[in-house]
C-alpha cells in the first residue's frame, strides 16, 4: 500500500467523523422507517430490508415505487439501480478488505456512501479501520433508526395528511444535489426528468423511473 507519506488520522478526528456520519444515518434511518410504513411495509419488513439491502436511497426508492402502486419488479429494479453505485465504490475500496473471501464479502456489506467518502485518502486508497468502524456504527444506527421510524409511526393512524408524501422526494433531492457537480451529471439528470415525465401518463407506475435510468448512457459521450 502506498501510504508511507500519509499521516494517520488522529483518534479524536476519527471519532468525530464516525459520530457525525452516524448521527446523519440515524435520522435518515428514521425517515426510511416512516416512508416504508407509509408505503405499506410492516415494521419487520422495513427492518429486514435495512439489514440486507443496506443503502438508504435504494430502500426509499423501492418503498416509494410500492407506495405509488408499482409492482415488485419495478420496486426491485429501482432499488437495484440505486445500489449499483456500490459496484465501482466496492472496486475502488477493495484493498481495504483483508482475510478470506467470505470475511471480505461480509465486511463489504458495511459499505455506505458516507463511510466510503470519509475513509478515502488523498492518494485514492482507503483507511481500512475507518471504513469498517464507521461502516459498523452506521449499520447499527441505521437499523435502530429504521425500527424507531417504522414502529413508532405504525402505532399512529392516518399519516398521509402530515406531508409525509414529501419526505422521500426531499431526501432524493438532497442526495441528488450533492451529485450534480459536473455538467455531464446535470445534463443526464435533466434528460432523466424529461424521459420520466413523458412516460408517466403512458406507462405503468415504476416504468418511467427505470426507463429514465438510460440517461446514464450520456456518460459514453466524450
Amino acid at each position: 500500500m502506498a501510504n508511507t507519506n500519509y499521516t494517520p488520522m488522529k483518534a479524536s478526528a476519527r471519532w468525530q467523523a464516525v459520530g457525525s456520519v452516524a448521527a446523519a444515518a440515524f435520522a435518515f434511518g428514521v425517515s426510511f422507517g416512516v416512508v416504508a410504513v407509509a408505503a405499506g411495509f410492516s415494521a419487520a419488513a422495513a427492518v429486514v430490508m435495512s439489514a440486507t439491502a443496506f443503502g438508504g436511497a435504494a430502500q426509499i426508492g423501492a418503498a416509494s415505487v410500492i407506495g405509488a402502486g408499482g409492482g415488485p419488479l419495478g420496486a426491485v429494479t429501482t432499488g437495484s439501480l440505486l445500489n449499483l453505485r456500490y459496484l465501482p465504490m466496492g472496486i475502488t475500496a477493495a484493498d481495504a478488505y483483508h482475510g478470506p473471501w467470505w470475511r471480505r464479502a461480509l465486511l463489504a456489506q458495511l459499505l455506505g456512501d458516507e463511510t466510503w467518502a470519509i475513509s478515502r485518502r488523498p492518494d485514492g486508497s482507503h483507511d481500512s479501520r475507518l471504513l469498517l468502524t464507521a461502516g459498523a456504527a452506521v449499520y447499527v444506527v441505521w437499523l435502530a433508526g429504521s425500527a424507531l421510524g417504522a414502529i413508532v409511526l405504525s402505532s399512529f393512524g392516518n399519516i398521509s395528511s402530515w406531508g409525509l408524501d414529501m419526505v422521500s422526494p426531499a431526501i432524493f433531492f438532497a442526495l441528488l444535489w450533492r451529485q450534480l457537480t459536473t455538467r455531464r451529471a446535470q445534463l443526464a439528470a435533466g434528460s432523466a426528468v424529461v424521459i420520466a415525465l413523458v412516460l408517466v401518463p403512458i406507462s405503468p407506475p415504476g416504468v418511467p423511473v427505470i426507463a429514465a435510468s438510460l440517461a446514464c448512457l450520456i456518460g459514453l459521450l466524450a
Binding site: 435518515f28 425517515s31 405499506g40 440486507t52 439491502a53 443496506f54 443503502g55 436511497a57 435504494a58 423501492a62 405509488a68 402502486g69 415488485p72 420496486a75 426491485v76 432499488g79 437495484s80 439501480l81 440505486l82 445500489n83 453505485r85 456500490y86 466496492g90 472496486i91 475500496a93 477493495a94 484493498d95 473471501w101 471480505r104 464479502a105 463489504a108 459499505l111 408524501d165 414529501m166 419526505v167 422521500s168 422526494p169 426531499a170 431526501i171 433531492f173 438532497a174 441528488l176 444535489w177 451529485q179 455531464r184 451529471a185 443526464a188 439528470a189 434528460s191 432523466a192 426528468v193 408517466v200 401518463p201 407506475p205 418511467p208 423511473v209 435510468s213 446514464c216 450520456i218 456518460g219
Partner: protein, 102 residues
C-alpha cells in the same frame, strides 16, 4: 406479500453488488467510459424519482404544493443545511401550504 418479495430480492442483489469488488475485483480498474456511465446511474434515477414524486399523482400530471416544499428544500440546500433539516423544512412547507391553499 409482494413487500417481502421486494425485501428478499433487493437484499440478495445488494449483497452481491457490494461483495463483487472486495471479493473478485481488487486491483482491477474499470475502463474510463464504464466508470462514467456507472457514476451517472445514481443521479439520473434520483432525478427521475424527484420529478415523478413531486409533479405527478398516479398516472397524471399533478403539480401542487409539493413544488413549494421542493423550493424550500432547494433554499435549505443552498444554505448548506444537513439532510434532516432539509427534509423537515420541505415537509413543514408542504404541510403549511396545503393547510393554507387547500
Amino acid at each position: 406479500m409482494s413487500v417481502w418479495i421486494v425485501v428478499a430480492v433487493l437484499g440478495v442483489v445488494t449483497i452481491v453488488i457490494k461483495a463483487v469488488g472486495p471479493v473478485l475485483l481488487g486491483g482491477w480498474k474499470p475502463p474510463e467510459r464504464a466508470r462514467r456511465v456507472l457514476e451517472l446511474v445514481s443521479p439520473v434515477v434520483l432525478a427521475a424519482l424527484v420529478a415523478v414524486g413531486v409533479l405527478t399523482t398516479g398516472r397524471h400530471y399533478h403539480p401542487d404544493v409539493r413544488l413549494i416544499g421542493l423550493g424550500v428544500a432547494a433554499i435549505a440546500l443552498m444554505l448548506r443545511a444537513p439532510l434532516l433539516v432539509v427534509v423537515i423544512c420541505a415537509v413543514a412547507a408542504t404541510v403549511v401550504s396545503r393547510a393554507l391553499l387547500g
